[in-house]
Symmetry: C2
Subunit: 300 residues, 2 copies
């Protein structure tokens, strides 16, 4: 590789643009609010043009908020599609960035990019972390999936936050807050769900508040379904709610209890702390994931 | 391709061996009971040796009952591992067949092979059915998954039959019959679960018996979780219970109602009959899936 990689984390609230080659070679970054598409894309393009004068950039990756069109055979490939974000419906984000910079570019969801970052730079042999699931639990719940070396697309893209979980209304009479499904995973366990159920923000609830055991229970049930459907070799948990490090041992314990030794794997049974792990890249996971997408664009 | 492909469906009750090139070029087949490993493997080997005198065989695929070791870097790759089937624990099925026939051979679970058969010979462009999930609902519930062109392995392999579903005990007081998890998917919706709950075999229950609406509900909930985790482009349902064709429209209707238009896909919303489909190969899906594995062995 000669030049640098450019990464865009395109969020509904802010854009983060960076250049570098990975989590340990992260050169420069800019963060700015997401306003209109014209203004926002122009700011991103200007950043990469400036950076390219310092050191050449070979390719760009875009990790985008959604929903997005990931089907390379579709006329709207690379578009943000039906988002509620005003002004951003049917915006050709990939096409505009490519045209303005004249560089190879790749595009995926923010969570698939985060999964790719954790996969590419896990420190383990890739085969030992394949499949890998990245789950973010914060304002919403999203999952990214790598299987057989590539992000999983499909009908749309994984939407693991909407799984149906068991909901014991005796223990938890809260109806859930997903506008589509009420008490799906996100409706029961996202940050806003916790806030609404307990009447205060999740981060202000003390460690011994019963909120956390219930939260760990829902997360563990969501992971159970993922383990049964996909048999991942690594599960990475990120997002605002997962800043609560005390959740990890409780989640692992509940997963093992529910599996009841059905899945015969030493990795999971003996060293669950190497199986269900915290996100390793903090607030750079989006841009570093975008670097990994840029690498793919370069190889393609 | 010059010669034929050999396929073994290695089941706990019977072995099926066949030669051919696909579902439309299926030359010869033999079925015999699964007795001791020595005797059973010898009969399979003898069949392929006889067939090879008629027309050469280039490679062998084995679609096996499990649990199996699918990790090519493991010392027990290709083994049937901890099965309750007497005499079959820690049997090197792949190695013995390869050594006896001197041919390239590939190995996977019976459900992954079935998924591969439905993927390889779907009649659609491969990208239009990727990811593909094959689910069998019969004595047990199993899933096979193809993603990014290859079967998904992982920690072990997909075990979708053990997902946790919602269980409304007012509607269905049955405790479930899974020895590990009680009322998981398989514990509530397998053939034996139906038999135990209703006091008669599933196939003898009339079409308008309430058993079928409940069964469709559980299957639809299982599919919902698979759709959210993997976003498959095709779901194929096979196995004894799914011989009940009247289940299909009810399952599709329940899936669409529960999704509540969250997944924005014309394929799913407009033509669910092309999305959730019956298995297409009847009782040849195992051996045809094994042909697809043999093809992979030849390419590798």
């Amino acid at each position: 590789m000669k030049g640098l990689l450019g990464g865009i984390e395109a969020g509904g609230t802010k854009f983060v643009c960076a250049v570098g080659r990975g989590p340990d070679d992260y050169r420069a970054e800019v963060r700015f609010p997401t306003t209109t598409p014209d203004e926002t894309i122009a700011r991103a393009v200007a950043f990469f043009k400036e950076q390219a004068e310092i050191e050449p950039i070979d390719a760009i990756g875009i990790a985008s908020f959604g929903p997005v069109d990931l089907n390379p055979h579709s006329l709207t490939y690379g578009y943000i599609t039906t988002t509620p974000k005003a002004g951003w419906q049917e915006i050709d984000l990939l096409g505009r960035v490519k045209a303005a910079l004249g560089l190879p570019a790749a595009f995926d969801t923010d969570v698939n990019a985060a999964a790719l970052a954790e996969y590419r730079w896990s420190g383990a042999a890739l085969r030992d972390v394949d499949p890998l699931v990245y789950m973010t639990i914060g304002t919403g719940i999203g999952i990214g999936v790598i299987a057989n070396g590539q992000p999983v697309h499909g009908l749309v893209h994984p939407e693991g936050g909407h799984m149906l979980l068991r909901h014991d209304r005796t223990r938890d009479p809260f109806d859930g807050c997903c506008p589509y499904h009420g008490d799906c995973f996100e409706g029961l366990a996202s940050g806003p769900a916790m806030h609404k159920r307990w009447g205060e923000a999740a981060e202000s609830l003390p460690i011994h508040h019963p909120a956390w055991d219930l939260e760990a229970q829902y997360i563990a049930e969501g992971l159970m379904n993922i383990i049964y459907v996909l048999s991942p070799r690594r599960i990475v948990l990120g997002g605002g709610v997962m800043q609560q490090q005390h959740l990890f041992p409780v989640i692992r314990e509940k997963v093992l209890a529910m599996l009841n030794k059905y899945v015969d794997s030493d990795l999971l049974l003996e060293t669950p702390e190497h199986y269900i792990v915290p996100a390793s890249m903090g607030n750079r996971v989006g841009t570093v994931g975008a670097f990994a997408l840029a690498e793919k664009a370069l190889k393609a």
